[in-house]
């Protein structure tokens, strides 16, 4: 079953064509990587899939819902219920502890549950750092908190934008390990990356150039 379908999606910023007629389907449980040079439209595509932006043309169907037609309010609800976001810059709230940062996602989704949030932190191996503030955590640990926050509401789709871009090799391995684990458990994952090693972990790699899909590579 297709979780995500992009049909002729274009995005035009004033006179820059960020995306041009993109057609792409992603199956449930698939791990997809998106690669491409700077300015190729990777981030724009992520924003559209992540319900943070709307395409200028074409349709995006996520789990049977055409999200290109929805209002901003509905998009927020869809993002909250179906998508987990992982950022290159982590984007943790710096006055909340690791645990609380996870619970914020629960709070806006439904109700905060401390036990469940602790379990999520345990999964990323940070149970003993739960009460630390982001400023007391290393970059890798912050990214793991970010992953725990993305997982907490059991999203259908995990979107990771350069998840290892700010990490050293050791932490990169840990984060990739967690993503592999999630994939094994059946999560659908889309990763935007510069790094061929990260892309190699995925089942398919989409290579974007000048807002168009240049080619799609199947990995094994």
């Amino acid at each position: 079953m297709n979780l995500l379908e992009l049909n002729g999606v274009s995005k035009i910023y004033s006179n820059v064509h960020a995306l041009q007629k993109i057609d792409l389907t992603v199956e449930q449980g698939e791990w997809l990587a998106i690669m491409g040079p700077s300015g190729s439209g990777k981030t724009t595509m992520m924003n559209i899939v992540g319900c943070m932006d709307k395409p200028s043309q074409g349709s995006v169907i996520l789990h049977g819902v055409n999200i290109s037609q929805e209002s901003a309010k509905n998009l927020t609800a869809i993002r909250r219920d179906k998508i987990g976001l992982i950022f290159q810059q982590f984007h943790l709230i710096n006055y909340l502890t690791a645990l609380e940062n996870v619970m914020v996602a629960q709070y806006y989704h439904s109700i905060p549950d401390e036990v469940e949030a602790l379990q999520a932190l345990e999964r990323v191996g940070l149970i003993e750092r739960a009460k630390h503030l982001p400023s007391q955590l290393s970059g890798g640990e912050q990214q793991r908190v970010c992953i725990a926050r993305a997982l907490i509401n059991y999203p259908m789709l995990i979107l990771a934008d350069e998840p290892t871009g700010n990490l050293d090799e050791v932490n990169e391995k840990i984060v990739l390990g967690i993503l592999q684990q999630l994939h094994k458990e059946g999560s659908t994952i889309i990763v935007v990356t510069h790094d061929p090693e990260v892309a190699d972990e995925a089942q398919r790699t989409v290579i974007l150039e000048h807002g168009k899909i240049a080619r799609i590579v199947q990995n094994n």
Binding site: M52, E100, V104, Y108
Partner: protein, 427 residues
């Protein structure tokens, strides 16, 4: 969770929040101090203006005023109309008794000094008289407090110095009298030896008079218990249209207007009330003092009002400016919360709660600091405490709330209008 987030924001970034609270406290203390001073400045300046002395003159009905003014009244003789000394205490029992600061009775008679041919004026008065009131209270009142511009060489006499006198400087020059001399005052068949204890310079026609305790003058003239006039110094409210009409004719007012007038400390209302308690008396505002007091009071209040407005506007702009800056600073956090699926309303509430909480802390601290500033101003300028007006609290509260909301709501709205992608990816 909401409160956990509020708590985190408030206590884990103390520096930032303290700075906002501090700025709000400064604004609140400025407003509190200025409002309190402004609301009290009228009373305070009114009190200061009492240094100009009496503003009400009470004379017997039908008595002629034409008497002094540079001594040109000589030869017109004296009126034989008097007020009763025994009724003086009543002045402190009128509706506005509390506003009567001081009063002094005068009894004037003519005497020849040191057996000279021409007669001079001898005035009996209370210098600082201890008075028991019909109400059971007591007070000290008299001329010393009301003529503080007098320049006395020698010393003031007291009401008990019945063999002493004070002599005006012009008279002293003319008769070559010095402090310490003995003079004789002769009126008809009666004559009296008086010790000159002080020579005074008042810069008015009083300089050619002799002042003695009231009873001395009365005995000399053979009119015990009678007084020629009373000077009253009262705190008054500046005149307005109503009081002017009332001064012309109190009967022209409607009952309601009359009550308003009677229960306001207009100089005309106080005069009216004095007339009620003194038999056959006519009280007249001394316009020179009463009018000028009104003018100066109004100017001072208006001046303070404008300065207060400036400082309120200044602190309002200062606070909303900082609040706006602090909201804009949080653009990433707001974008993130939106990306995590938060709707606009909960985000707005979260930020507003934090800011208002900070505002309340800053406001309360500022209010008390402001009271301190007001007292510093009161003590150092007027030497007395500024009255703390409860009505300042709601004004400052409304001000702080309005200002913080005005500072935060537009910026929150602006932040929310941004798409999370723009803030988070810098796009």
């Amino acid at each position: 969770m909401f409160w956990r987030m509020v708590k985190g924001a408030l206590f884990r970034q103390k520096g930032k929040m303290l700075m906002i609270a501090f700025t709000i406290a400064l604004g609140a203390s400025l407003s509190t101090a200025m409002l309190n001073v402004m609301l009290d400045v009228g009373d305070k300046v009114n009190q200061e203006l009492k240094t100009y002395g009496a503003n009400i003159n009470v004379v017997p009905k039908g008595a002629s005023l034409l008497d002094d003014l540079y001594g040109v009244g000589d030869g017109f003789g004296f009126s034989d109309k008097y007020l009763k000394e025994s009724e003086l205490g009543n002045i402190k029992t009128i509706f506005w008794a509390f506003n009567i600061v001081d009063f002094a009775p005068y009894f004037e008679t003519r005497v020849s000094l040191n057996n000279a041919d021409d007669e001079i004026k001898l005035t009996g008065t209370w210098f600082s008289h201890y008075l028991e009131l019909p109400t059971g209270e007591s007070l000290n009142t008299g001329m010393i407090n009301m003529k503080n511009w007098w320049d006395v060489s020698g010393e003031w006499i007291s009401d008990l110095d019945t063999d002493s006198a004070m002599v005006g400087s012009l008279l002293a020059n003319r008769y070559h009298i010095q402090a310490g001399d003995l003079i004789t005052a002769k009126s008809g068949e009666q004559s009296l030896f008086l010790n000159v204890k002080g020579i005074f310079n008042s810069g008015s026609d009083e300089d050619s008079q002799v002042f003695v305790p009231l009873s001395v003058a009365q005995t000399l003239a053979g009119r015990d218990g009678l007084i020629s006039r009373v000077e009253v110094s009262a705190l008054t409210t500046p005149d307005n249209e109503l009081s002017r009409r009332a001064a012309q004719n109190p009967k022209s007012l409607s009952i309601k207007e009359w009550e308003t007038w009677y229960c306001t400390a207009y100089v005309s209302a106080i005069c009216y009330q004095i007339d009620e308690v003194m038999t056959d008396s006519v009280s007249k505002p001394i316009r020179q003092v009463a009018e000028s007091e009104g003018a100066i009071l109004e100017k001072t209040q208006l001046l303070m009002l404008l300065i207060t407005i400036l400082s309120l506007v200044g602190s309002a702009l200062g606070i909303s400016n900082l609040v706006t800056a602090s909201v804009i600073e949080r653009s990433k956090e707001i974008g993130l919360l939106k990306a995590l699926g938060a709707n606009n309303t909960p985000i707005s509430w979260l930020i507003l709660t934090e800011i208002l909480f900070t505002g309340v802390i800053g406001g309360v601290a500022g209010y008390f600091a402001g009271l301190g500033f007001a007292q510093i101003i009161g003590q150092s300028v007027f030497g007395s405490a500024i009255d703390i007006k409860p009505m300042v609290i709601p004004i400052v509260t409304v001000l702080i709330f309005t200002v913080t909301l005005a500072g935060s709501i537009p910026s929150i709205r602006y932040m929310l209008s941004l798409r999370p992608a723009e803030v988070l990816h810098g796009r």
